[in-house]
Amino acid sequence: MSDSTPAVVEHNPDLRHHFATMEQQTETAVMGMWVFLITEIMFFGGMFAGYVIYRHLYYSAWLEGSQRMDFWWGTINTVVLLCSSLTMALAVRATQLGHRKSTVTLLIITILFGLAFLGIKGIEYWGHIVTEHQLPGPGFRFAGPNTSQVEIFFSFYFAMTGFHALHMIIGVGLVSFIAYYAWKGRYGAHYYTPVENTGLYWHFVDIVWIYLYPLFYLISHIHRK
């Protein structure tokens, strides 16, 4: 049995005891995040499967529902999220280069974009729920044929964008957490795994939206309130 760590070692203070090298630790942490994201794909996947099935069954109701979406808010939100992914990626890069101030700034901008997304989502939900009575349940109202089928469309809309928003809130929390520690000087070229992993999570949540947006907002080119 051979020694893996030399008797006297200048090791990274962030190296945890059960890892032999920083490289092993970093690769392990990143792999862990990827495996977690795969579980998230399966989690959302169930809802996507249900969406596909019902869209096939009730296509005209899906058209109707899609026409009631706020096309402009949805599009703005997509742009907002894409920009936030850009700033997040730049933040990871800044950490790798050891630029503490840029890192913190970029992370804060990411948070602001995230909050903007959530705010716009809130405006949309207010419109759907309070103004248009489109929350499924006893208070659901829809003028036109296929009311119950459109109600199912809205069930999927709220369930899928709702879980997405929940993931966004967690994401904003994570990025805030990371921003704080970045400001404290915790990360740098020697150790930036948490930032990288948070970035991965953020990009994933963004990608889920990239799928949700066309599936809900772009089915029909007609939009009316």
């Binding site: 009730y58 044929p145 296929n146 119950s148």
Partner: protein, 334 residues
């Protein structure tokens, strides 16, 4: 088997029971053989190769030949079982033409049967021996399951649609009917009897039947009283499609799809008319959800089925013409 003795084999009372039992016995023998083989091997090896002074284990890494043998031989046997089981299932799921229809409504916690001749039964089902019987079933609430062990058939009964089970009784007697899908408090009380009678006895039972007339007559009455005939005119083309001869045939829809007008289509058209609009017509039919009960739906379906030649609504022999049944002609149970 309604005796208090200690049975070890369920009664056979339908024409498919024997086939199911044959496969079961084959599997029993196969299973018995395999298990015996493994048990004997374990016991023999455990004794013969037990640890004792002077005895050494022989390290064997493996053998590809042996592995492939005991991969492909079981796989072949499994395939054989699959085909046999699939064949029986195919028979079970393709009701023959000229089956006698019985409409079933399951609800928590009872079985309601409507014969086309008009008899209604609750938790008891009278059928003649030697006749193909087709159960057209739906649930008023949750999922139930229609299970007659003596017939070896079972079919879940769903809310919102019809499911079909069929059988041909081969032995007179009274047999258990059990609900086999957990459905709440009194699931184990949702049981009944299937009474199989000789044809003559069944006929006299039918004749002593209810005063309300046949199912198709009830359906005809509803068709008029609910106003269906206003748009679905039987004498000429109205605002709705003419329904004569429609049942069992392909229908072209507005969106370009072609579907077959079976029981589920008729039912859906009454409850969600905008779901499948016939090509060339507008989606103006109102929904009857909440207005008609399951039993009334059954009567309407039976009536529309009966609209074959003359539009007078007189009860014709319902002819089930679904494509599946036509294919099943050649493989029909006798």
């Amino acid at each position: 088997m309604l005796s208090n003795t200690f049975p070890l084999w369920p009664t056979r009372a339908s024409t498919i029971s024997g086939q199911v039992d044959a496969l079961f016995i084959f599997l029993l023998m196969l299973c018995g053989l395999m298990c015996m083989a493994i048990f004997v091997a374990i016991v023999v090896f455990a004794i013969r190769y037990r640890k004792r002074p002077g005895h050494q284990a022989t390290q064997i890494e493996g053998s590809n030949a042996v592995e492939f043998t005991w991969t492909f031989i079981p796989a072949g046997i499994f395939l054989f079982i699959f085909v046999w089981g699939a064949y029986i299932y195919f028979l079970e799921r393709t009701p023959p033409r000229d089956s006698m229809d019985v409409y079933t409504v399951a609800k928590q916690w009872m079985w309601k049967f409507q014969h086309t001749e008009g008899q209604r039964e609750i938790n008891e089902l009278h059928i003649p021996i030697g006749r193909d019987v087709r159960m057209i079933m739906t649930s008023q609430d949750v999922i139930h399951s229609f299970y007659v062990p003596a017939f070896r058939i079972k079919q879940d009964v769903l809310p919102g649609r019809y499911t079909i089970a069929w059988f041909r009784a081969s032995k007179a007697g009274t047999y258990h009917l059990f609900c086999a899908e957990y459905c709440g408090t009194n699931h184990s009380g949702m049981i009944g009897d299937v009474v199989v009678m000789e044809p003559a006895q069944f006929q006299s039972w039918l004749n002593g039947g209810g005063p309300m007339g046949s199912l198709t007559q009830t359906g005809e009455g509803l068709f008029q009283s609910l106003g269906c005939s206003t748009c679905h005119r039987l004498d000429t083309q109205g605002r709705g499609p003419n329904l004569i001869g429609v049942f069992g045939k392909p229908v072209l829809l507005e969106d370009g799809r072609t579907i077959t007008a079976d029981e589920n289509y008729v039912r859906e058209s009454i409850l969600s008319p905008a779901a499948k609009v016939v090509s060339g017509f507008k989606p103006i039919m109102p929904t009857f959800q909440g207005i008609v009960s399951e039993e009334q739906l059954n009567a309407l379906v039976a009536y529309i089925k009966s609209l074959t030649a003359r539009p007078s609504g007189a009860a014709q022999n319902p002819t089930f013409q679904s494509p599946a049944a036509s294919k099943a002609d050649t493989t029909r149970q006798r």
